[in-house]
Amino acid sequence: MSNLNLIKTVKDIPPEEYLAPGHRLCAGCGAPIVVRLALKAVPGPKIVVSATGCLEVATTIFPYTSWKVPWVHSAFENAAATASGIEAAFRALEKKKGAKKPKIIVFGGDGGTFDIGLQALSGALERGHDLLYICYDNEAYMNTGIQRSSATPKGAATTTSPAGRVIPGKLERKKDLIGIAVAHGVEYAATANPAYPVDLYNKLLKAAAVKGPTVIHYYTPCPTGWRSDPSRGIEIARLAVQTRIWPVYEYDHGTWRINIMVKKPKPVEEYFKLQGRFRHLLQPENKWLLEEIKKDVEENWNRLLKLAGLKT
């Protein structure tokens, strides 16, 4: 991968925009940041496939569209299957007519990736279609009213896992999407975070250069669903990394790397206190859950250290 022009600073990111303003995503939404960067990073012609979700409903309200690239949406569960079909059709055209194949980019939310679209994604990864799958993970079904998904972290309050006397928010762990992708034998899979735009952009470059399926799991601050201040989205995203709750790592052709090394983690409470969905965790009666989450975070970090060969 030495022929890739990886960037060093934000200034190296090209100025052209392929996502027009005027979309109806909430103020402070983290999803358009990855869309803007992905459309800049993927070279040449591209086709975007969107799963149902905030991004799809807010960017293409008839008669307007914010996309300056070809864009298609069909249903919630089949974004990866639609993309597979497009890729296969272009492969046939390439063979018969010599037409240059565009890169297919798929955007799915956590509901459209972790839950509803998982089997379509699994099929696309297994068949080895040449596509870049980006999951913008805002950790619940925000578009339909903050219902829990399998990407919702432990302890988060949503409308279907409300924190109260019966349960202190969601009790189950978050699914490991990168683990699932790597188990399919993909060549490149990575997590990314808007607080580290250079790392995010370089990962998009690396993923776009792979001929085959790649998965990027992107952390999306959601002020509406997380009950947080819209202006502090990027700050929360950075805290998620610095508390080791959301490690930034990649799997690159057999090698695991932790891209943002966190030597001295900040206390998880700092991350929780900025978000209304975690407010109850700081109450004394939920201390047991907080301790459990701390243990999970440490376990996950140690697992990644072992994968990266930094610990035996």
Binding site: V10, K11, I13, P15, E17, L19, A20, P21, G22, H23, R24, L25, C26, A27, G28, C29, G30, A31, P32, I33, R36, L37, T59, T60, I61, F62, P63, Y64, T65, S66, W67, K68, V69, P194, P197, P223, D229, P230, S231, R232, G233, I234, E235
Partner: protein
């Protein structure tokens, strides 16, 4: 304005014009507006890369300005600015 009926729509209700959402001005959502102090700005472009709209415009020599037609006033730019060159001013 005369509304279109279903007979006037393109087949499949596709939207043939790319980036047409610029006709919809989301700037009306705003209650606080970001004001950039160009003397303090160090041209790091963090606000530009983090703007969700994008309503921060990038000019020559990495100067930035705000497009108030679309800025929803989320305040991410003011919060991320390392030299506090962006101030959120109330519009009420």
């Amino acid at each position: 304005m005369k509304y279109k009926t279903w007979k006037d729509l393109p087949i499949g209700a596709v939207i043939p014009e790319p980036g047409s959402s610029v006709e919809y001005k989301t700037g009306t959502w705003r209650t606080f507006k970001p004001v950039i102090d160009q003397d303090k700005c160090i041209r790091c472009l963090l606000c530009w890369v983090s703007c969700p709209e994008p309503s921060i415009r990038r000019h020559e020599e990495n100067r930035v300005s705000v497009d108030y037609d679309f800025c929803k006033g989320c305040g991410i730019c003011a919060n991320i600015c390392p030299v506090k060159a962006i101030e959120m001013v109330s519009e009420l």
